[in-house]
Amino acid sequence: MYIPIIRKLINRNNAFLERALPTTGDINVKIGDKVAPFNQLGACTVSYNQIILPKGFKPFNNITPNKILQGTTLGRYRGEYIHAPYNGFLDKDSINNQLIFKELGRENVLLAGAWGTVKNIVENKSILLEIYCKDFLLPITCGDMFAGELVVFPNPSELLIGSFLENFTRDVSGKIFYIGGHVSLSVAMRSKELNLTTLLAGSISKEAFAFAKKSGLNIGVFEGFGEIPTSKIIFDELKNISNRFVFFDVENHTLRVPMPSKLETIPVKKPLKLLKAGDTVQIFQSPYFGGIGTVDTIKESSILVKIPKNSNLVEVAVPNFFVVV
């Protein structure tokens, strides 16, 4: 029988990665340049915050509109004084003819984030890199694309996840957390309170997933819903790449980890494979949902699978498994 292939981890030697400036700026590299993760590709000035001032707002005449310090009184609206919440300047919205208070631009530096070669450049905007990488499959994702430093917890138990969250999340900005085998609702809620933006885990409860979607938490799950431990083949790789700058791609269901050098790849020509005894399969049937084992016997409408740490063979019905390559 022919069974579809699931590729939980793919080594790629010619993947593309787009690095873009948040607004137009200067690009410091040229096509053909070799770059490393901490090389600066470009820079721009960005205003991160702005306030649209209400119609009827009257600015004071004595303020300098192009440089206003934090705390300065901007003017009055309905008898109330409005103060500058940060250093900024006054601007006018040309469409609505409304005054806007914008934060002074801060310099934004674009780092490569990966080892690679510059393949293409969109002038003043973005750079396309060709890189070596490992792509981890995330069948369940929600949220937005995010890039940051990967922090890997060592598969703590449910009880210990709380303690790990409290002790290892002091500086959370720009980080992606692999928090263990399972995300429960309480873990998702605590993560949100601690301002974590992106969580990775082996599995997730449906309540936690619903909460994440509602609260804007980025989630990537390696296996499925329920309490399913992360596959050994995934965790063994993850623990070796802690603190690496990685890319969480929601739409493509991928965690992309740039690598410094060429990788050994396994070519897959067709998405289906003729199943043979000895093949590695992932089971999607209770009580071994998510488990990975080796095919022992192939029957007409089921297979017998040998699972590590289980002395008995497990019978799995077609189509509740995929071949792992």
Binding site: F225, G226, H253, L272, P319
Partner: protein
């Protein structure tokens, strides 16, 4: 030139390879393309073509020399290959001969003028923690329930949606059930109970089951070629039997040229079955407060005559013990 018609269901993929009225073959794959699982190394087109190529090879046909028409539930993927054309799902019911077609999968139900899906009755919101199979089925839609309670849990949601929306069934046209929910070759009594439960309008119904979606695939072929290519007898269509659906006590008289008349009464709020010979014609007379007094000629079918006097048909889908008694009625 051989023609291929294919239907991509929620959890299976069925294919018809047609060379002539005397040479055609069906195939179904219990796997479908899953965006979250396969998109990291392949795409929908490559996935389905790989399956069809294997099927064509087995039948000594070269895929590139075939014309292929694809439809699916509910959207149809875009294919770049020039020999593949798309057929919209809504067109599949056009000119369906003889039957009243019903497509059911684990998340949705559709007839010609009626469709409901999980979103219309809050699928995710209703789930409790013990049904992780159902949540995982949202991601791995091809999964097959291997225990009764998981399947009942899926069926119940769709059934409640159909009951809630008060679908009116037409007893005058034979009803044919198709779709991912019934695909495969399993002879499962729970499929028959589910079919009976979905029909809530009182009446006498002639029930058919098409596990290969053969009628859908042939109908697609007819639409394309504009000539009748459907063979008169399709072995893949199973005549299930006759269903009397109506609450309250039901009196029945069944007779044929070969057998003596058989009179029996079915009490209220139950499901009973009377086996009949598959191809034999019977005279049926029934009396029921909702259906009225009706005389009708029927053919036996696989199960014979089924009398369903249940008031709340969704009840048994949350009560395994009750469901089990119905299973026994149908097995006997």
């Amino acid at each position: 030139m051989p023609i291929i018609t294919a239907y991509i269901g929620v959890s299976h993929f069925s294919v018809l390879l047609y060379k002539s009225k005397n040479y055609y073959a069906f195939f179904y794959s219990p796997y479908v393309y899953l965006e979250g699982v396969f998109s990291n190394y392949t795409n929908e087109e490559e996935f389905y073509i790989s399956i069809i190529e294997l099927f064509c090879k087995k039948n000594g046909v070269e895929f590139s020399k075939c014309d292929m028409y694809v439809s699916g539930f509910v959207s149809v993927p875009e294919f770049k290959a020039s020999n593949i054309k798309r057929v919209e799902f809504t067109k599949l019911f056009d000119n369906m001969p003889t039957y009243y077609p019903v497509i059911v999968n684990d998340f949705a139900f559709a007839t010609k003028f009626f469709m409901i899906s999980e979103t219309s009755f809050g699928f995710m919101a209703n789930m409790s923690d013990d049904v992780s199979f159902r949540v995982n089925k949202c991601v791995y839609t091809h999964l097959k329930a291997t225990d009764l309670s998981s399947q009942l849990s899926l069926d119940r949601e769709v059934l409640l949606g159909v009951v809630h929306d008060k679908l009116r069934w037409d007893p005058n046209t034979p009803v044919i059930f198709m779709g991912s929910r019934f695909h495969g070759e399993d002879d499962r009594p729970l499929d028959y109970i589910y079919m009976c439960s979905l029909i809530s309008t009182p009446g006498i119904y002639d029930l058919y089951l098409d596990r290969a979606n053969s009628l859908l695939l042939f109908n697609m072929l007819n639409m394309i070629t504009e000539e009748d290519k459907i063979p008169l007898e399709l072995d893949s269509i199973e005549h299930v039997g006759t269903l009397i659906s109506g609450t309250g006590v039901t009196e029945c008289l069944v007779s044929s040229e070969e057998d003596p008349p058989n009179v029996f009464e079915v009490e209220k709020d139950t499901l009973k079955r009377m086996p009949l010979k598959y191809d034999t014609e019977y005279r049926l007379v029934i009396k029921n407060k909702e259906v009225g007094t009706v005389e009708k000629n029927i053919f036996g079918g696989k199960l014979g005559l089924i009398v369903d006097t249940r008031v709340n048909k969704a009840d048994a889908f949350s009560n395994i013990r009750k469901f089990d008694t119905y299973l026994r009625f149908l097995k006997d």
